[in-house]
């Protein structure tokens, strides 16, 4: 299989869906003529033109609300948030109109919208631009939240997200855009809600999503070579729906779980999974479920400190060693 970047895989997925379905359009700030702030949509405007790739003013609440309204009439907008942090100025549209209209209409209306963009810290831009709202958004019944970690996953999942008739919030990571991975040339999709065991192991289960998966894989490698500890790494891929079977199956095998996420800890995704594991696999656990999240403060600007504030392989290794 050819090696391509996460960015390229994502772009290919977008392009394929634009070609497949005339109702698919991309909208966001700088997505067209500027080729995307992070070049995810590079070349798409030249290829598909003004109708399918649309530059929007700096009005996230306005253009995302517009996308939700258009989707009610059957358009399938793929909205780019330049940073997912900017979702906060569009929050009401995203959690009330997108999440509740189907319900409040007794199922008469669908909102087949995708809102995508990077949702991560670690890029040395400070607190306002480093938010990770996946836990907050997944709190809302009516929404789906997907966080792909690899080129293969991001392509297969963006295609499923665009074809999904429910609102799907698709969270990427600027630090993964340049990462390479194998992606088949032939078309494929990945079902939303299926986790993926990225590394098999026997001593402990590391559960993560997004870039934290890559962090865990690095840590697992070092733990194997330097400490002879065998880690299983479960990549959630989707936060809501959540693949509980995959989580439980792994923990029942390893009897230990460390939950790693770039979220802030309080009511983060790890909290929900920790509850799940102790609830459904209580007797299978050799010890408490542990969590590793971003250090609990707004994202610090200073580069070396921010690198430490986020979970990194070293912090994962220390956490695992404490558990075994």
């Amino acid at each position: 299989m050819p090696l391509i970047t996460y960015r390229q895989a994502l772009k290919d997925g977008l392009a394929e869906e634009i070609i497949r379905d005339p109702n698919v359009l991309i909208m966001g700030e700088e997505v067209a003529q500027y080729n995307g702030a992070y070049k995810v949509t590079e070349g798409l405007w030249e290829r598909f033109g003004d109708k399918r790739v649309v530059d929007a003013p700096i009005s996230e609440a306005g253009f995302i609300g517009l996308g939700i309204g258009a989707s009610m009439l059957g358009i399938r907008p793929v909205m780019e948030l330049m940073f997912f942090s900017f979702a906060y100025v569009a929050w009401d549209q995203m959690v009330n109109n997108a999440a509740c209209v189907r319900y409040m209409s007794g199922g008469l209306i669908n909102v087949p919208i995708v809102i995508r963009g990077p949702a991560n810290g670690g890029t040395n831009v400070g607190a306002t631009h480093s938010h990770t709202p996946e836990n907050q958004l997944a709190n809302f019944p009516g929404l789906k939240v997907v966080c792909p970690a690899t080129p293969y996953d991001v392509k297969g999942l963006i295609k499923s997200a665009i074809r999904d008739n429910d609102p799907v919030y698709f969270m990427e990571n600027t630090l993964l855009y340049g990462m390479q991975g194998e992606v088949p040339v032939e078309e494929y999709t990945i079902p939303i809600g299926k986790a993926d065991v990225k590394r098999a192991g026997t001593d402990i289960t590391l559960i993560a999503h997004g870039r934290a998966v890559i962090t865990c894989l690095k840590a697992a490698e070092l733990l194997a070579t330097e400490h002879e500890i065998s880690c299983e790494v479960v990549d959630l891929r989707s936060i809501r729906p959540l693949d509980e079977e995959a989580i439980l199956a792994s923990v029942r095998k390893t009897h230990r779980a460390l939950l790693v996420e770039e979220n802030k800890p309080f009511c983060g995704v790890g909290a929900q999974i920790s509850h799940l594991i102790q609830d459904k696999a209580f007797d299978d656990l050799d010890g408490p479920v542990k969590r590793l999240s971003s250090i609990d403060a707004p994202a610090i600007y200073s580069d070396p400190l921010e690198k430490y504030q986020l979970p990194n392989p070293q912090r994962v290794i220390e956490a695992v060693l404490k558990m075994i």
Binding site: L25, K51, A56, P57, S59, A61, G62, F63, I64, G65, L66, G67, I68, G69, A70, S71, M72, L73, G74, I75, D92, Q93, N96, N97, V101, R102, Y103, M104, S105, G106, G107, L108, I109, N110, P141, G142, K144, S160, R163, D164, N165, D166, T189, P191, I192, G193, K194, A195, S238, R240, P241, L242, D243, E244, E245, Q272
Partner: protein
Amino acid sequence: MSNNTTTEVNQEEEIAPPLDAKALASGRDHPVNVSLKAEGKIRLYTTMVRIRRFEERAVRAYQQGKIGGFLHDYIGQESIAVGCCSLMKEHDHVITAYRDHGHAIAVGMNQNALMAELYGKVTGCSKGKGGSMHYFAPDKNYWGGHGIVAGQTPLGTGLAYALKYKGLKGCCMCFMGDGAVNQGVFHESLNLAQLWKLPVIYVIENNGYSMGTSLARSSAFSDSLAMRAEGYNMAWDTGNGHLIYEVRAKVAAAIERAHEHSLPTLLELKTYRYRGHSIADANAEKYRTKDEIRRTRETKDPISIFKTILLEEKVLTEDIAKDIEKSARDEANNAADYADRSPYPPVEDITNDVYWSVDNPGKHDNHGKIFFND
């Protein structure tokens, strides 16, 4: 920093003096009204009466404890929804705020389903899930019924965007209150609509108050709220919402601008609500004088005014008017009986209609757990 007295004054000016016969017929000469046949005029009148009776019946049901939560009635404003919606063509759409009963009836929704929704019954238009503020009828091009002030304005802009995207000759009439003009998302919508030349008509139903706050205490403006469109180089107009002929004339021009030129309009229509913000509003007569309410009812009621006009036009007779009254009352009472007799939704319903993929099993390639009750 807020000043009540000046407000009162503004309001007084708003109301008196009562309109003379000529003023009452304003808009009659506009083609859309000239071309109206007798049946058409009767239908306008009938629909206004049906809305009023429906809501009066709903208010009674609320007072009897059959309806709870919020009930925002539209009594006094009927001419706007009826006038605007009476001009809808195949690809014209409507969206509004939580004061949505009038628009729902104006687009042709069934009163049984509307009343049952208020009662929270499974036979309601939203299966009892939306309630008074959240009516929907996509089959009638009616997209709600939205509880968050101005939250519907970008949605309406998006409906217009979809029409243009699909190359359909239509527009979206996006209704809102005078208090909604101070929500930022409305301004973002105005800019997008003009920038992208979208066929949307923002109709401000200016009834002078947002809850207990008079226009002068909530909004900074010179002559009108509609003038805010000027900053976006957008067409705008104001009109007397009490006069259904004028409402139709004004909105017809906006519809033509949308249909023929794919351009938006901001249209402000002056109107008034007699009752409180919602039926639960105990202050209805505190933030404005009893007298202000009385005189508006007497001099500006859209139904009485139109009745006077139709009698004078010899389109309507007192007998026909009585029949219209009676069948409107019957329709509303039957709707209440229907709602009363209807069952509540079963408990399982709570988790239906959340996700399309759950309600249509096997059609989506979705896995995993999506509800987290256990």
